[in-house]
């Protein structure tokens, strides 16, 4: 699989580490790591050249949904494919995220096969 430029945002160091490990195993390069919603919004203001962002929902400072809303309303970041990674896949979150233009959802703990399928979709394969 050709490499994509990937960003990962989760307040859990364990989830970031596991996700990064799986992405690298699939040949992707994780170019941005962020620890909460505010952090990712700030970091993407500086470098928006990202193909896909894996974004947690329940996080301090700014939730994943709030961050998604900001990213989608910013001309510079609105086209980034955002995948919500969560243990809380309730219909409320799904509706909110879909309305905001989320690309996909991924359930925790991360499954490398699901990850591969999503990345293939991002690349249009």
């Amino acid at each position: 699989m050709n490499s994509l430029r990937v960003a990962v945002c989760d307040d859990s160091m364990l989830v970031r580490k596991k996700l990064k490990g799986s992405l690298e195993e699939l040949g992707m390069s994780v170019v941005i790591e962020a620890t909460d919603g505010s952090d990712i919004v700030e970091k993407l203001k500086e470098t928006s050249d990202i193909d896909v962002l894996f974004l947690d929902i329940v996080m301090p400072n700014k939730t994943g949904i709030e961050a998604l809303e900001e990213l989608k309303s910013n001309e510079k970041t609105k086209d980034i494919n955002v995948v919500m990674v969560t243990s809380v896949g309730t219909s409320k979150h799904v509706k909110e995220a879909v309305k905001l233009g989320v690309f996909d959802f991924m359930q925790k703990p991360v499954d490398i096969n699901v990850l591969r399928t999503i990345l293939e979709r991002v690349k249009g394969e």
Binding site: S12, V15, P60, G89, P109
Partner: protein, 286 residues
């Protein structure tokens, strides 16, 4: 799981020693054959199908057989055949007690009869217990009046089995010992709110983190803390998805370590023993 309860009953009656019980539990752990292994052995499922079902099981409150049937990997008949081949914890315990010449078959039956009478159980209820029915075991041992709290605990016991690969013995307690200073906390909010705490001493905190993170951790550092908090978050996530499915509007706040616990007259406290680890669960429903 029932073996933990019946084993402790035998211990409390002075019928077996704690050394014998530990030996039996160790043996039981080594002998338990998972359904996936049985399915592979019988040629009912491929390794990749088993891995797929195991992965799906991590994120939902469903049994292995249930998911395998949904995905079309097993039929009901084949699942029943596998379940028959998988010994319950009570059968395994009995077999080990017999093999080690600790008790005779007649003595085991007699003690089980005493257990049944002392707990006021019907034959059907005893049958459910000896079949490792988690719902019945938790309901029978804790006698909780609050349904959502009982469901929370049943799910936690299942998640300890799924993610930490251990059977749990759970009891109601009045307080948490002073050495249990590491307190993982998460608030569930919505139509009702529930403050959830998992409380550990350092040794067990590191062990739980190591099992969940699938790597050897040796100190309470950021990775270790994030592993325990993520276990709590994952469990609470599945719990609220179940609640939302029932029509409750629920959500989660960010999980964190905290210094304080609610007072004992505000909250319910439980001790959970699994493997050689202990932790305390504290639930405060508002």
């Amino acid at each position: 799981m029932f073996s933990k309860y019946f084993g402790n009953f035998l211990l409390n009656k002075g019928i077996i020693t704690s050394e014998q019980l530990n030996e039996v539990f160790q043996e039981e752990k080594n002998s338990h054959v998972k359904l996936g292994i049985l399915a592979l052995n019988k040629g009912f499922m491929s390794l990749s199908q088993i891995e797929e079902v195991n992965q799906a099981q991590m994120a939902t409150d469903k049994r292995f057989g249930e998911i395998a049937i949904e995905k079309g990997y097993l039929t009901i008949d084949k699942l029943e055949e596998l379940l028959t081949g998988q010994k319950t914890s009570y059968l395994l315990l009995s077999q080990i007690l017999l093999d080690k010449n600790i008790l005779t078959m007649e003595q085991i039956s007699r003690h089980l009869f005493t257990y049944k009478n002392e707990n006021g159980l019907s034959n059907e209820e005893l049958q459910e217990l000896t079949s490792d029915n988690v719902e019945r075991i938790v309901s029978n041992s804790l006698e909780l009046t609050n349904t959502s709290i009982e469901e929370y605990i049943i799910l936690l016991v299942k998640n300890i089995e799924r993610h930490l690969r251990e059977k749990t013995f759970i009891e109601v307690v009045k307080e948490v010992p002073a050495e249990y200073q590491l307190r993982a906390y998460q608030k569930i909010v919505g139509e009702y709110s529930l403050d959830t705490y998992l409380v550990f001493q350092e040794r067990d905190f590191i062990k739980v983190a190591s099992i969940f993170a699938e790597e050897v951790l040796t100190e309470v550092d950021e990775l270790c803390i994030s592993a325990v908090l993520e276990f709590l978050n994952l469990h609470n996530g599945i719990f609220i998805v179940n609640e939302v499915d029932k029509g409750f509007d629920m959500d989660l706040k960010v999980q964190t370590l905290v210094d304080d616990l609610p007072s004992t007259n505000q909250a319910l406290y439980f001790k959970l023993s699994f493997g050689d680890m202990n932790c305390y669960l504290c639930l405060e429903k508002n």
